[in-house]
Symmetry: C2
């Protein structure tokens, strides 16, 4: 709700105090925009000059082919940035759509402003750049995770890889600064998708996914309770 504090705690402004954030805001022409549910923020082919930061809501990175099939590439939530793969020296057309699936508030800034000599002479500029680069690296890791999943040929392997990645993320998250989230035993994983969404993310047929999950339950590999999957080690 409170965008001010969300910005303050956004990874993009990490290791910057309020004063420095203010400075950065005067260096860059940030502007906020709201989007209604199901509105498109950016369409495939659009030229990209702005980087977006999600203050509120959920944005999908997706793409349609000419048969009308829809492919979900990534789900972006509060604090995520987007459109950054298409920035660069030459203005790149976006290869994907960004679509608001809930009502959204987005903060934009001009990528070009990053490289303009800073008139404010603020030292924090390089901290900001470093933060952005760290976010880019994180986004790349997320894309790699998706590739790892999609590389698996069998549905079960995809599920197991997905769970494995969830596990890995929980480990590093809880080792870092005290990220809340309901703390669960390490073999219990909170799945932030419903079945329909998960099937889409894993790139498989929904009914086939449900069928396979049932098989895995029958073989006592996993247990399912609502959004929590427990892995039974043997």
């Amino acid at each position: 709700m409170d965008h001010g504090s969300l910005i303050k705690h956004h990874p993009l402004f990490e290791r910057m105090n309020e004063e420095e954030i203010m400075k950065i805001f005067s260096c860059f022409s940030f502007h906020k925009k709201d989007y209604a549910k199901n509105e498109y923020i950016l369409l495939e082919g659009d030229s990209v000059q702005l980087i977006g930061i999600i203050l509120r809501g959920t944005v999908l990175m997706e793409k349609n082919d000419f048969y009308g099939n829809n492919y979900l590439f990534m789900e972006l939530r509060e604090k995520d940035i987007f459109a950054e793969p298409f920035m660069g020296l030459t203005i790149q057309p976006s290869a994907v759509n960004y679509k608001a699936v809930t009502n959204c508030s987005v903060l934009f800034f001009h990528y070009r402003d990053m490289w303009r000599p800073c008139t404010n002479n603020c030292l924090c500029h390089s901290v900001f750049t470093e933060n952005l680069m760290n976010l880019l690296a994180m986004k790349s890791r997320n894309l790699l995770n998706k590739i790892e999943i999609l590389s698996k040929k069998s549905l079960r392997d995809r599920i197991m890889t997905f769970l494995n990645i969830l596990y890995r993320e929980n480990q590093t998250a809880s080792s870092g600064e005290g990220r809340k989230l309901q703390e669960l035993p390490p073999n219990q994983l909170f799945v932030p998708y419903n079945h329909t969404e998960l099937a889409e993310y894993l790139g498989v047929n929904r009914s086939a996914l449900v069928r396979e999950l049932k098989r895995m339950r029958d073989e006592h590999l996993i247990e399912q309770h609502k959004n929590i999957i427990t892995i039974n080690q043997q």
Copy 2:
């Protein structure tokens, strides 16, 4: 062969003259290392502090699962950078292996040095940073391409998407500064893989790929001559 000129023309040193490149070299502790064919440069789990620039040879980004299956994520060639998804504030273990598939020369630098205040007071520092970020964006786009391919359920769709991406890349490449490469008519695509490699990249079985390519030839969708695939529009 001549590493000096390769460095000079590397996208990482774009818009920098020789003098500036020299300055950068004294800011950063670059060092060169050679690898033999089939040697591993970085293993899954290794902590990453260096970014690598390939001066010569080909490096695979790949991963093994515990059944011994091998998954090819990306092929990196001369001028590509690697290991950059795992850099950041917290030192990240690599999620993949980087393997030299030919004899390779690699130039490394410490990611941390990027953010140390520049003692040389060189203005080109920010140009260097910008160049690196552009490369990161490009790598992200490549990962997105791979995801787009792997998202397709049918083998034919994967092939068509792959060809489509090749087409797209040829378009933007030839519109830019005069990149040589043998100029081909737009519906003729040079495929930089053999069938075995292509199958691996598309995440499909090799014999199934060959079978499908044959079907597509029989239906006059495409023609194949060595590494050139011609798309027959109808």
